[in-house]
């Protein structure tokens, strides 16, 4: 079970690797910024774009998300990982205004976003994609892109029937859309219905569409899920390219492989809480993470004795209480 965790990549090595990569200087800068950040839950980042405080979401008796403090570094790729049912997508929904927390606050670029609608969050510059792609299948690829144009006068009912008022903006947006589509190699498909695209292409389209809004932070919910393995590499390349352009990327993933190569920082969630964070190499070495991660994983080999070892459990518990002053509550195994 530890085969994938075995290569001991330190943060410094990661930074060096990034430097060796012919990536932009900015990316290296980010990696360096994070190098000296202590891999500890709730740690402050040098330049946090998103700060989450005490966000809780309960469904009935079950606490789906309970995050004390989390900061997301500007201009970095932050991966949010954890087993199924860890609350990653729920946290995503909360932060992007698609769900309302029972309590908690969070700021984006210094402004509070708590209580804002999904649309308002997107307009503020934090744009998300969905786990199950939401390509608008009966619109063409180009229409999908144009739909994302921000502040389009033609989208106001009062002006919409007077085309001469918005034609210039439309032309401008079309140019930009074609440019982005070309980058994602979707330009040949611009007049196809989005429903006719393959799963991977839809993911790309969704990402491209999000770019149309000129976001500060782009939140990708499982961008690799359901994508043909051959496409995964190019998808990861696109994610990195976003960072290199200065965007902040946060993405949810439950597959650790994909995460370690591209992310600058990894946040691990389990049972609604953040159990660890740090550079990919460090985090994945963390025995607590491995245990917590796999302990709740639905496809864990339940025959693993380590999980039943009272000593391990005791240590886990001690670590949990040490990290978070609140006592550990009973979590129900109601996940499906």
């Amino acid at each position: 079970m530890s085969a994938e965790m075995s290569s001991p990549t330190t943060a410094v090595e990661a930074a060096a690797a990034a430097a060796a990569d012919p990536a932009s200087a900015e990316a290296v800068q980010v990696a360096r910024d994070l190098t000296f950040v202590e891999p500890r839950v709730g740690v402050a980042k040098p330049d946090a774009v998103l700060v989450v405080d005490g966000v809780q979401r309960r469904f009935g008796g079950m606490t789906a998300v309970d995050v004390d403090h989390l900061e997301v570094q500007r201009g970095a790729i932050t991966a949010l990982i954890g087993p199924n049912g860890a609350g990653k997508t729920t946290l995503f929904n909360l932060l992007t205004g698609f769900d309302t927390p029972n309590q908690g606050s969070w700021t984006f670029d210094g402004r509070s976003l708590a209580g804002r609608s999904g649309a308002a969050v997107a307009r503020a510059g934090m744009v998300r994609t969905f786990q199950l792609t939401k390509a608008l299948s009966r619109l063409t690829v180009l229409q999908n892109m144009l739909l994302a144009t921000p502040r389009h006068p033609g989208e106001r009912l009062g002006l919409s029937w007077l085309p001469f008022l918005w034609r210039a903006r439309e032309r401008e947006a079309t140019e930009k859309a074609l440019e982005i589509l070309a980058r994602f190699k979707l330009d040949a498909k611009k007049d196809d219905f989005a429903g006719a695209l393959s799963g991977g292409q839809r993911k790309l389209l969704e990402m491209a569409r999000a770019l149309m809004t000129d976001p500060t932070v782009i939140m990708l919910d499982e961008p690799m899920a359901g994508v043909n393995p051959a496409l995964v590499q190019s998808l990861l390349g696109h994610v990195q390219a976003l960072r290199d352009e200065g965007m902040t990327v946060v993405f949810v993933e439950h597959d650790m492989h994909a995460v370690r190569h591209i992310s600058d920082w990894v946040v691990v969630m389990a049972e609604g809480r953040i159990v660890a964070e740090g550079p990919p190499g460090t985090v994945m070495q963390d025995q607590a993470v491995v245990d917590a991660y796999l302990g709740a994983h639905h496809d864990t080999d339940l025959g693993d004795d380590a999980l039943l070892d009272p000593a391990v459990l005791a240590r886990l518990e001690a670590e949990a209480t040490g990290r978070q002053s609140a006592p550990e509550t009973d979590h129900q195994e109601e996940q499906r």
Partner: protein, 500 residues
């Protein structure tokens, strides 16, 4: 991801119900009456209604027939004479007055003929050429059947079409010479409120405790019968996600079958009831086998399916009209016998109907909680994919649900038809919206919610009668529905949907 837990305690339901009744009494008039001027006219109307009711006051054992002669601007024409004849050699002469409705109590429910004597009409307001001088109305216990004649130059082309006669007998307030009905389908297929009207206009003067008890009793009765029908609607919604608009016609079908078996064939009511429920259940099976299952196989989206149910509803409506005509029909021909239990006086048939409804509802509850198929039904409602993964065949469950709901709707239709004294082709259509209101109120797709919602709706409908004219009774229930959606969209017992 995570199973939600219903957070509502049962108490919330009762409290909510009380609140709703209160809201019904408060909000409905507040919403409906707008300008003070209108309120004033409403008040005068109420007084005239009171005067009319003084002549004949319908209650659970009394039926009234009233004669209206309307001139220009709907003014009542006084001193016109009419003769009412009916079954059992009943005859009565009435003379209209300007300030009151001429009404007489008739000895038994049934079809009465009202003949207007044109010679007694004022010279300036003769009967239009070719207008009928007779109107047939159906008297029912607990209501006033109105025969209206329109006279004077302004009266539009008199052509009492089938629709008009349907209105006359169905609603208890029809017009003998309907104004020009259009050739458009919308006009000919006019729907009408109060087709299944039962209790009389109680909006008179002060409200006595006895009236409140009486309306409570009627409300419970209506609620229980409505619940029979709504539980099926709710089960269908729960297992398939479909809002079936043809469920109303399933209810009418029950009344129709009961009419055929009990009235036309003369079967004993119990035997007739069994045949009715069996036939109705069979239509559920046929529908699922013939329409819904093939469509589910094709993966037809739900919106599309919903419109198919609308098409089916239109088809069945006209089919039923073709069979029984536009008028109303009676299932039991015998005279209803009032039975008093505690503060409630209801007909004997009503008590039976309530008993049957209660037993059947308890039976459904036991079925859903105790039997394997019942539990499987609930599992399919919860999560079809998961249910089928655990070896339940959702198609079989859905088939059972269709059969059961159609049977229940048929039973409800039969009982409603009996309790109301008569029914017509529109009965189910009117019930449908109340059923939707009940299921939405209780929480879409939950069987218990449908029961609670139905009782609420039943009570609202009957209690609103105390403060509102009876032709707004159903409207009050729908107003409540909209208000509840504003406050608690998931319904009384429903749970909040999760996003993402």
């Amino acid at each position: 991801m995570t199973a939600d837990r219903p957070t509502c305690r049962p108490r919330a339901g009762t409290r909510g119900r009380r609140l709703l009744i209160f809201l019904a009494a408060l909000a409905a008039p507040a919403l409906l009456a707008v300008a003070p001027a209108q309120a004033a006219t409403a008040a005068t109307d109420a007084t005239t209604a009171a005067a009319a009711a003084a002549a004949c006051r319908p209650d659970d054992a009394t039926a009234c027939v009233a004669v209206l002669v309307l001139g220009a601007e709907n003014a009542r024409v006084p001193d016109a004479q009419a003769t009412i004849t009916g079954p059992g050699g009943f005859t009565a002469d009435v003379t209209t007055a300007a300030d009151a409705v001429a009404a007489v109590a008739v000895p038994q429910p049934g079809t009465y003929t009202v003949e207007l004597d044109p010679a007694t009409l004022p010279d300036d307001a003769p009967l239009p050429d070719g207008a009928a001088t007779t109107v047939e109305v159906t008297a029912q216990t607990g209501s006033t059947a109105r025969a209206a004649f329109r006279v004077g130059e302004a009266a539009a082309a008199p052509a009492p079409s089938a629709t008009a006669s349907g209105l006359a007998s169905g609603s208890g307030s029809g017009s003998g010479s309907g104004s020009a009905s259009s050739a458009a389908p919308g006009g000919t297929a006019a729907d009408d409120a109060g087709g299944a009207a039962s209790e009389g206009d109680a909006a008179t003067g002060s409200i006595t405790p006895a009236q409140v008890w009486q309306q409570l009793g009627s409300g419970l009765r209506f609620g229980l019968l409505l619940a029979l029908a709504s539980v099926g609607l709710s089960l269908i919604y729960g297992t398939t996600g479909l809002s079936s608009f043809s469920h109303g016609e399933q209810v009418t079908l029950g009344a129709l079958m009961a009419f055929v078996t009990i009235n036309a064939w003369g079967l004993h009511p119990v035997l007739g009831g069994i045949v009715t429920v069996a036939v109705c259940a069979a239509t559920g099976w046929l529908q699922d086998a013939g329409i819904w299952r093939p469509l589910r196989r094709r993966g037809t989206p739900l919106t599309q399916l919903m419109i198919v149910t609308i098409g089916l509803s239109i088809t069945l409506q006209f089919l039923i009209q073709l069979v029984i005509g536009g008028g109303s029909q009676r299932i039991l021909t015998s005279n209803p016998r009032p039975v008093t239990v505690g503060p409630f006086t209801l007909t004997e048939a009503s008590w039976w109907a309530m008993g049957i409804a209660l037993v059947v509802i308890l039976g459904i509850a036991a079925f859903l909680t105790r039997t394997r198929i019942g539990r499987a039904t609930r599992a399919v409602s919860d999560n079809p994919a998961l249910a089928s993964a655990t070896g339940i065949d959702p198609h079989r469950i859905v088939r059972i649900v269709w059969v059961m709901s159609a049977g229940l709707a048929g039973l409800a239709g039969m009982l409603l038809g009996i309790v109301f004294g008569s029914f017509n082709w529109m009965m189910g259509m009117q019930m449908l919206l109340l059923m939707f209101a009940a299921t939405t109120l209780g929480g879409l797709g939950t069987a218990y919610g449908a029961l609670v919602g139905s009782i609420v709706i039943g009570l609202v409908v009957e209690l609103s009668n105390l403060v509102l004219p009876s032709d707004l009774r159903y409207a009050s229930a729908l107003v409540i529905l909209i208000l509840v959606l504003l406050v608690r969209p998931q319904g009384i017992l429903g749970r909040r949907e999760r996003i993402g």
